[in-house]
Symmetry: C2
Subunit: 280 residues, 2 copies
């Protein structure tokens, strides 16, 4: 193999690292591919690291030793995250989104891959330090969000179904009461989809009282799995929350069908991040 020039190496390493977040890539992979000394590779990585930090896009984590290597840890800076979520708030506060029954139309936003990509980047930043084995969501609207995060954390997604499906094999089913409508729903997860003792991040699009998320937590209990965290895109007012600990990006404080008004503010993620920021 020809020796690669530094300029070409930088492009290729950036491409490889960005394309495989959280994956440890041995330095030998790079030095062999480019027929370059490890010292040159380390210099290249320092340049990439500097640009990523400057742009608020993430960091490179270098592990030394025999099992060592480098991995790209995606991170988004808080100002950028705030801009993304403020745009989301603007979208959500459009009264044309109000549907019969006081629901909000969000399918267009959940179909927007640019927005999802950025939301995935934000969640991946929130949970970057956790050891996560899988991301769990419930069909249907949580799915795009779960995958958006999973791309940045590079962990598998498992999907909870409302109905038993023949394509899932044996399933574990729990009953859950929707806190807001008091209806009983069944949540099922394929037995094959999750190993006992896994550490799981729950992601969903919308939370009112949190009955569905409580059901998912119960389901995880059946697998002796641990809940690493809960992230919801939109938090909505409820007299009593069934879930204590969750991170929300947006909080809808009022949906008034009569007066055609939707009130939206930043979610609790920005409370926490605000405090963290002051410490820095």
């Amino acid at each position: 193999m020809d020796k690669w020039k530094r300029s070409a190496r930088l492009v290729d390493m950036t491409r490889i690292l960005m394309g495989a977040p959280h994956k440890l890539i041995p330095l030998t992979t790079f030095s062999e591919k480019y027929s370059s000394a490890k010292s040159s590779i380390s210099e290249d990585l320092a340049i990439i690291e500097e640009v990523l930090s400057r742009e608020g896009y993430g960091t490179l984590e270098t592990l030394t030793g025999a099992a060592g290597g480098v991995r790209y840890i995606p991170k988004i800076n808080i100002e950028h995250a705030k801009k993304v979520v403020e745009q989301l708030c603007d979208h959500l506060s459009n009264p044309e989104r109000i549907l019969a029954g006081g629901f909000l139309y969000m399918s267009d936003l959940l179909g927007d891959v640019d927005l999802l990509d950025q939301i995935g980047h934000i969640w991946a930043t929130v949970f970057a330090k956790e050891k996560i084995d899988a991301i769990m969501t419930v069909e249907t609207k949580g799915i795009p969000l779960a995958y958006a995060v999973a791309y940045y954390l590079r962990v598998p997604v498992i999907i909870v179904r409302y109905d038993y499906r023949v394509t899932e094999g044996s399933v574990v089913t729990v009953n859950t009461v929707s806190g807001s409508s008091h209806k009983i729903k069944q949540l099922s997860l394929s037995k094959r989809s999750l190993q006992e003792g896994s550490r799981v991040l729950i992601i969903d699009d919308f939370m009112k009282a949190g009955g569905t998320i409580q059901g998912m937590i119960e389901l995880l209990g059946e697998f002796n799995a641990e809940v690493v965290g809960v992230g919801v895109m939109v938090d909505s007012p409820a007299t009593e929350k069934l879930v204590d600990s969750y991170v929300s990006l947006v909080k809808v404080t009022e949906i008034n069908s009569k007066q055609r008004r939707v009130c939206v503010e930043l979610g609790n993620f920005f409370d926490v991040e605000g405090e963290t920021n002051e410490e820095n």
Copy 2:
């Protein structure tokens, strides 16, 4: 702003281009950000282009003139695509995937973001030259695939629902007969989700007779939308296909529950690509 060194520029431009496939980025965006002459930016782009081509990862398309700029067109080379799909075939031919009723368990594969990322890259290569306004799929298992493609083509995803949902607003509904089970199913799409006359790519995980896909095509007819193409991950044997034209990655030729045997081969995508390749 300080002038950026070429090495830092290359890293940052690669990051930006890879992060926004198919998006036209004006050269002035780069030259202003880095306080660099457009001629330097063009030289940088030539380096990036050369690496992408060499690695079989895509191309840069440069448009000149006032509305000009550069965009990253993701492409995967046929050898790499074949390797990815051969691995998929290996996974699918594992007899432990056979479920009651002769179904195949695939949820783990559809939860694997590395695999999805590569499949998305392959589909994006197949349909790179088409003008596409949206990608359509049906809940639930088609969704991860549709988004995987959508990330590479940077177009919105619209999701067809089996049941009418209050969160979708007004919907258009068609009845469709599953070609294999002869059951009648309803497919609904939110009226707000698709503009009249859109050009739509249909993506799904599994096709037997193609009743669901035929239903989606019919639904698109109700929106006066045009079907740009149909891509299915797994094509399965059926006495009669209801859909003539589709691209499949994998073809399951036999699922034998008694003898615990699954026979899998490459899908028709590789027929077509084979011919194309010979021409080159």
